[in-house]
């Protein structure tokens, strides 16, 4: 194997063979080392949240990754390739330009008893963000989310002063034995902590540039999205082979899990909150 060891011969074949082997070994080892080093760096970086989202997004079912413009019926089939960040999408402005935003007179959209006020923007992970006018933005869980999960057993909110990243972790909640990660809809720095009782969870201030809401759903997009989400929920519940009636008398029941506590609620909640 090495010079000076018995049977090592300085022949061309020997040198080539061992050279190739060591090259291969070096490539394999350096690949792994590289991956380890990069991940060490990434984990220390706040942008790891972005990395995490990139990875999660890739594993979401194609149905979930459907473009918002598909939901609204503007296009027949289109899958998002921008991790739900329409800010970096070149096609999104074209869509916007093509269809003038319909004016919605109504103040809220309601479906199956879920009311979604239209004064705010909705993230596809069932959070909303509402500009407070004073340069701060409140962030909360939408009605769909609250009804589905009910009163959380515990909530862990980011400290005041810490940053949240759009599509990164907004806050986490504990419900029964499940840890739920709720995605933040926008970038910002936490200025105040809310809670389930307050109707909102975080108040953030945007650092630097004014936040953009281009990637969030609003207005006319809410209804088709909600329809789609109800379908998804129904489907997610059917994964367990249980045909659970979502709505009682046309309404999505609050504390839905109580209907059938034994099923994999973590799976259902997680997939509705855009976790792969």
């Amino acid at each position: 194997m090495f010079p000076w060891i018995y049977e090592f011969r300085w022949t061309v074949g020997h040198i080539i063979f061992l050279g190739v082997f060591f090259t291969v070994a070096a490539v394999v080892v350096s690949t792994v080392v590289l991956a380890l080093r990069r991940s060490k760096k990434a984990i220390a970086d706040p942008r790891r949240e972005a990395l995490q989202w990139t990875s999660e997004f890739e594993d979401l079912p194609a149905v979930v990754r459907a473009c918002r413009h598909q939901l609204s019926g503007e296009v027949k089939e289109r899958t998002c390739h921008h991790e739900f960040d329409c800010r970096s999408c070149a096609t999104h402005p074209q869509f916007l330009a093509r269809t003038a935003p319909a004016i919605h007179a109504a103040a809220e959209e309601s479906l199956c008893g879920i009311s979604m006020p239209l004064d705010r923007y909705y993230h596809r992970g069932h959070t909303w963000v509402k500009p407070e006018g004073d340069g701060t933005f409140t962030i909360g869980l939408d009605e769909f989310g609250s009804r589905m999960i009910g009163q959380p057993d515990a909530v862990a909110l980011p400290e005041v002063g810490s940053a949240v990243l759009a599509n990164g972790t907004g806050w986490t909640m504990r419900k029964r034995s499940s840890d739920l990660r709720v995605l933040a809809p926008i970038d910002g720095v936490v200025v105040e902590q809310g809670g389930p009782d307050k109707g909102w969870y975080l108040r953030v201030r945007s650092e630097g540039t004014e936040p953009q809401f281009r990637h969030l759903l609003r207005g006319h997009e809410i209804r088709p999205w909600l329809v789609r989400e109800l379908e998804r929920l129904e489907y997610a519940l059917s994964s367990d082979g249980i045909g659970l009636s979502l709505a009682d008398g046309g309404e999505l029941m609050p504390d839905l899990w109580k209907q059938s506590p034994e099923i994999d609620w973590e799976g259902v909640w997680g997939s509705m909150l855009l976790q792969a």
């Binding site: 063979f17 082997f21 291969v24 380890l36 990434a42 995490q52 594993d59 082979g241 799976g267 792969a276």
Partner: protein, 410 residues
């Protein structure tokens, strides 16, 4: 009970049913491990191998599973190097199959050798002229590669991915996967070839000996080709099998057809080369060393039928079926042809390992027969059980077929 570990959006059977499926295999594995213990602790006399049949069922198993396991490297090659996105639907499954095949082969090899504790001597005193050295080096390296390729699949498990470190590592690893795929392809090329060379260089076994092209006998290239041809077919067959057992649609039909088409084209090339090689061997190589090639086919129960079966029935026929678009479009034909392709390669490995040793060389030799002992069979079955267990666990808790949830939800 284990629902929190099952990937979101996938439907898997109940834990009870899953265990009912697993426990028999665990018992089989346990039985096999006992046989392995006997062989390791007491000696290889527990096998029915002998000084004349020095290689038996295990070497046959090694050659066969490694040929079939070629699906892993070839799917990776298609996806990462040739950028054929169709392959993404089966890549995870192919990696798990490859890992099972290779780790099973290495495990059996460790039982097969008389002094497994000295296995590292091959690295310490390598004889670079030996095909087995090449096989050992490539096999260990490629098994490492497969393990590294398996890591991201595991880390994406629903529970494990909640640990950010894992998810990030997985992400980084995934980014450099083309490098590993390239290395895997390179290694696979050599060890598949060297496994062929293993027998092709046997000057003392005129039935196996083949002319050299460069420094390698022709079997080197034949094995590479046949493994590349059989690999996609094996992935196809296994996918169909898993679909059948789990009663779920896991990939889109186009994916299977794509695999079939690749397999068929390669098989056609292989059969052509094999035919030329056989003719050269019959008319030149074998007579040169004093053996008429057809004498080999008069020995014992090995008639010329075995050659016809290998080259025509399980070679040419499935190749033609698979390259024909109309035939390929019929699922049963597709599956049948892929199965035949796998059987053809298995038969080829049988002929190379078992028939070579059964045939006499000295004028006073008899045709030998060999029947594996229960310990050998149990070890063989243990590898099978290990494969089923690892695959079942992976199938239940990991995402092997990314298209599965899409197919369900659409």
């Amino acid at each position: 009970m284990d629902k929190q570990f099952i990937p979101r959006g996938l439907r898997r059977t109940t834990f009870g049913k899953f265990m009912a499926w697993m426990i028999p295999w665990i018992l089989v594995l346990g039985f096999g491990l006992y046989a392995i213990y006997l062989c390791l602790a007491e000696g290889l006399f527990h096998t029915n191998m002998d000084n004349r049949f020095a290689f038996g069922l295990w070497i046959y198993l090694d050659l066969t599973v490694i040929a079939l396991g070629a699906g892993a490297f070839f799917t990776g090659f298609l996806l990462y190097i040739l950028r054929r996105e169709e392959a993404r639907a089966v890549i995870n499954s192919a990696v798990v199959l490859g890992l099972i095949c290779y780790s099973g082969a290495v495990a059996v090899l460790m039982v097969d050798v008389g002094q497994p504790l000295r296995a590292w001597f091959t690295f310490w005193h390598p004889n670079t002229h030996s095909m087995l050295t090449e096989v050992t080096f490539c096999l260990t390296a490629y098994l490492t590669v497969l393990l590294i390729e398996y890591v991201p699949i595991v880390l994406k498990n629903r529970k494990l991915r909640q640990i950010p470190r894992f998810l990030v590592f997985e992400f980084q690893l995934h980014k450099i996967m083309p490098v590993l795929a390239g290395v895997g392809t390179f290694l696979s090329f050599f060890h598949q070839g060297s496994l062929g060379g293993l027998y092709g260089v046997l000057q003392g076994r005129p039935f196996a000996f083949r002319e050299a092209l460069g420094i390698w006998p022709s079997t080197f290239f034949l094995f590479v080709l046949s493994a590349a041809a059989a690999g996609p077919s094996f992935v196809l067959v296994m996918t169909a099998l898993v679909q059948g057992i789990s009663k779920k649609k896991l990939v889109k039909p186009e994916v299977l057809q794509f695999l079939g088409r690749i397999s068929g084209s390669l098989l056609l090339v292989y059969i052509l080369v094999k035919a030329i090689d056989t003719l050269v061997w019959m008319n030149y190589t074998s007579p040169m060393v004093g053996f008429s090639a057809f004498e080999f086919y008069n020995a014992g129960s090995f008639g010329t039928w075995i050659l016809v079966l290998e080259v025509v029935v399980l070679g040419l026929v499935p190749a033609l079926l698979l390259v024909n678009g109309h035939m390929r479009a019929r699922p049963l034909v597709l599956l049948g042809a892929a199965l035949m392709t796998c059987c053809g390669v298995m038969l080829n490995r049988f002929v190379m390992t078992i028939q070579t040793l059964a045939l006499p060389t000295l004028p006073f030799d008899a045709v030998l027969s060999y029947m594996p002992s229960w310990e050998e069979v149990a070890t063989f079955v243990a590898v099978l059980a290990y494969g089923v267990l690892l695959y079942s666990l992976s199938f239940r808790y990991l995402t092997l077929f990314p298209q599965e949830k899409d197919i369900r939800q659409s």
